[in-house]
């Protein structure tokens, strides 16, 4: 690296795409199309404030409050908006419930649409060609790769996200969690369990 080399005491040269991004930003700033402070705010929001903990709190509340759960399953977008979780792109959120008969799994086969306001930025594997192609074709094998084995009688429904509709899986409340409050329950809700590639943690495992 240049900064370790006394013969090259200049700043560390960012990779080529980073320079292209800087060039784009410079052009846009000169035309008054971007406000650097707004960019910092967006990055801070997704890096520090929005993440799977928001989806987990929604799931835990649905496990505790039957009326809330019914409203969420009927039409999640206004319920979530009331809690302050807006889709920045004006998209609708659909919550799909796992049952003993049906397991739900979410993918975006075309790009990487994802419920940002509830889960933040998707993990790398969600954006990979491998997941996007295989989730629809062989969901049970994909689940096995994630260490999830469903009972034979459980069918799998794969939901393909779009620019307009994003899905959140409402996983089944884990057995043995009866006495837990919403805060303790939220700690059991993993990101992957809300994408459908995982299950919530068992209470004793936390």
């Amino acid at each position: 690296m240049p900064h370790d080399d006394p013969d090259h005491p200049h700043s560390v040269l960012p990779p080529e795409p980073a320079l292209r991004v800087k060039a784009l930003e410079t052009v846009l700033a000169r035309r008054g199309l971007v406000d650097p402070a707004a960019l910092d705010e967006i990055i801070d929001t997704y890096q520090n404030r929005i993440g799977p903990q928001i989806g987990a709190s929604v799931v835990a509340r649905a496990w505790c409050e039957p009326d809330f759960k019914a409203a969420l399953l009927a039409d999640a977008t206004p319920v979530l908006a009331e809690m302050g979780h807006y889709g920045r792109q004006g998209e609708h959120v659909v919550v799909v419930e796992n049952t003993p008969d049906r397991h739900n799994m979410v993918v975006c086969t075309l790009c990487s649409c994802y419920p940002w306001p509830l889960l933040g930025i998707p993990p790398g594997w969600y954006k990979s060609d491998a997941y996007r192609a295989r989730a629809v074709r062989e969901p049970r094998r994909v689940l096995a790769d994630f260490g999830v084995a469903l009972p034979k009688g459980t069918s799998i429904r794969v939901w393909d996200s779009t620019a307009e509709v994003r899905y959140l899986v409402l996983p089944m409340r884990p057995p043995g969690s009866d006495g837990l409050d919403a805060g303790a329950l939220a700690a059991l809700v993993t990101r992957d369990s809300m994408i459908g590639t995982g299950l919530p943690s068992a209470p004793e495992a936390t």
Partner: protein, 111 residues
């Protein structure tokens, strides 16, 4: 594919290009469905030669999409972007380590 926790953005430029796109969408330069149509097409094209792993290659597709979208909607010229990219490269190479890197006030590609 694993379920190990990932950093939100692996590289600072991933965050930067993401934020620029979200900002430009919110200020009305393009709609999100317009973005996803273009982005899907670029991902598909990039994925023909090899499987994309969803990391750097994903954001390279994102950057290509934004560059072509801006050239169509904001009239940015490829030559203008290339010249500024080169100006930024020179600025990094000319700036001592530890000093904030800035473009010279009047660079040759300036308006």
């Amino acid at each position: 594919m694993t379920s190990a926790p990932d950093p939100v953005f692996e590289q600072p430029w991933h965050a930067q290009v993401f934020a620029m796109t979200v900002h430009l969408n919110e200020t009305g330069l393009f709609t999100w469905p317009e973005w996803t149509v273009r982005f899907s097409a670029v991902l598909q094209r990039h994925g023909l030669a090899r499987d994309l792993d969803g990391g750097d290659d994903y954001f390279l597709a994102w950057l290509d999409t934004l560059e072509s979208l801006l050239s169509d909607t904001a009239g940015t010229e490829p030559g203008e972007i290339d010249a500024l990219r080169d100006a930024w490269r020179r600025a990094y190479l000319d700036t001592p380590h530890g000093t904030p890197v800035r473009l010279p006030q009047r660079d040759p590609s300036g308006p």
